[in-house]
């Protein structure tokens, strides 16, 4: 399968199944678009007609170009067939029962009252709760016990607001550090926080122990304070920004993300990214809101073209700042064309419910953080393990070939079938399609690849 598009002054051709990326001239772009549906003579005749008035394009050029395309096809770099479907379940079968990542819901409570929160102000449609050390310790033991030969174990302290239970976070990390070596494991911790409770103690701890810190900031003050308010209705921007700046400065280059949410209130989110840059942050992520249908924050059909344009402008801004020696990172545009994931990863789906699970403050297991609170998705608990094997099997069967729409989508080996929770909320099935999200994802991939192409060709 081929996907071709024009962006940023480049003609880009993606050969989906080989993973090849080509930057081509206009003639090659046009020939490739006809290659599979017309005979060689017809293609060349069409090109001669199209470029009859062109200054530099001769018939020999057209034939030479056609031959270059044939060479790439013979080399497996254009029009490569999809031969991967039989392998779709292999990686999951090989690692069946292995859990390598937990999202630990250390606090089902929050000191902010954000109306757009998918976790309903941290409570996940339930009662407020915080995780005890004993439950957290058992969760880490569960992970170690079920991680098989997997060395790197990922644990995200999530909420609600994790810093509302910071002492337990510290105790759990200390416990993990005590036992990881004897089990041959390496814990990688992440903390996701709204920032209100950041102090010097948190900064020292996070910078020592957290592989990654995710800091919630929506960008412009008026945008951030529209939703991210405390229970008295006061915005949080002015209180958290200096704390984030201090933490990032002290972090000394270790991974962090300034993570914003954009909604119907700010489909023009590039202004928010610009605000983050102006505040000195360079590792950025901006995510479309996840909310119930009909919610005032929901992105609308009218917002879609605005958002797509913002993604293109964001790519342009990245390249501009790169040239100026002021680069920044946008999470979704990080694409390593030479060192990215292998085909098994690309077709296996996101891993929710199998290698990745969420743990509630009382130790229940769910396929991921977005299913927490929906009782029918409860997989089991950290004491008995997975007992709802029927639900787990549904997630295990969820891969890029499980959705008919994905089979014919050029982006399938970049998204791996998408987010099961988004699909469920949009269609009632985890194997459904959240079309709006797909449109955003495809645009992000086009932009990410264009940025990578521009950088690579710029270095030549």
């Amino acid at each position: 399968m081929i996907h071709q598009y024009k962006l940023g002054g480049f003609n880009i051709v993606l050969d989906i199944c080989s993973g090849s990326v080509h930057a081509v001239d206009d003639v090659a772009y046009d020939i490739i678009s006809m290659y599979e549906t017309a005979e060689k003579d017809a293609v060349i005749a069409a090109m001669k007609e199209k470029y009859a008035n062109g200054e530099d394009i001769t018939e020999n050029d057209i034939i030479e170009c056609y031959e270059q395309i044939e060479e790439l096809k013979n080399a497996g770099k254009l029009f490569a067939p999809d031969t991967f479907e039989p392998m779709a379940g292999e990686l999951k079968n090989k690692t069946r029962g292995v859990v390598k990542a937990l999202c630990i819901h250390i606090a089902h409570t929050c000191n902010l009252n954000c109306a757009y929160c998918f976790a309903s102000q941290g409570k996940y449609q339930g009662e407020r709760a915080i995780m005890s050390y004993e439950v957290g310790k058992r969760a880490l033991d569960f992970l170690i016990e079920n991680s098989g030969t997997r060395k790197n174990l990922e644990v995200d302290f999530f909420g609600g607001e994790p810093l509302m239970n910071f002492e337990v976070v510290k105790q759990l990390v200390a416990y993990a550090r005590r036992v990881e070596k004897e089990h041959g494991k390496n814990f990688r911790f992440t903390l996701t926080t709204n920032g209100l409770l950041i102090d010097d103690d948190v900064i020292d701890f996070a910078n020592k122990e957290m592989s990654n810190v995710v800091l919630s900031l929506d960008g412009r003050k008026e945008i951030h304070d529209r939703y991210r308010v405390d229970y008295a209705g006061n915005g949080s921007w002015e209180r958290i920004v200096p704390k984030f700046q201090k933490l990032v400065e002290a972090r000394g280059g270790k991974n962090y993300y300034m993570r914003g949410t954009f909604t119907h209130a700010n489909p023009d989110f590039l202004k928010d990214i610009q605000q983050m840059l102006d505040l000195g942050f360079t590792e950025l992520s901006m995510e479309p809101v996840v909310c119930a249908s009909g919610d005032p924050s929901e992105l609308t059909a009218e917002d879609l073209p605005v958002v797509l344009e913002q993604y293109e402008k964001l790519a342009e801004l990245m390249l501009k700042r790169e040239k100026e020696g002021r680069p920044f990172t946008f999470y979704h545009y990080m694409i390593d064309l030479t060192g990215g994931p292998c085909i098994y990863k690309r077709i296996s789906g996101c891993g929710s419910g199998t290698e990745y699970m969420a743990v509630t403050p009382w130790g229940d297991l769910y396929p991921c953080h977005q299913f927490v609170g929906d009782e029918k998705f409860r997989l089991g608990d950290i004491y008995e393990g997975v007992t709802n094997t029927a639900i787990q099997q549904e997630f295990s069967d969820c891969n890029v070939y499980a959705r008919e729409e994905c089979r014919n989508c050029w982006a399938r080996l970049y998204c791996s079938g998408g987010c099961a929770a988004n699909a469920y909320h949009a269609t009632g099935k985890i194997t459904g399609i959240y079309e709006y999200g797909c449109e955003l994802f495809k645009k992000r991939m086009e932009c990410a690849i264009m940025v990578a192409v521009a950088k690579m060709l710029g270095e030549e």
């Binding site: 999470y331 891993g351 953080h369």
Partner: protein, 50 residues
């Protein structure tokens, strides 16, 4: 005249031969938590061919 510049990429067909080690990061265990993608993930296996 060169009409096509091929960017160096990982060969996905070749990557099938190594079987997949499963050591790479879980897709959602990073910055986003609300939308899935695997394109921006790193391969943890140094031995795997490009």
């Amino acid at each position: 005249m060169k009409h096509i510049k091929t960017i160096e990429t990982k060969n996905l067909c070749e990557s099938a031969k190594n079987g997949g080690c499963g050591e790479c990061q879980t897709s959602c265990q990073s910055a986003c938590k609300t939308s899935c993608g695997i394109a921006n993930q790193q391969c943890e296996s140094k031995k795997e061919s490009k």
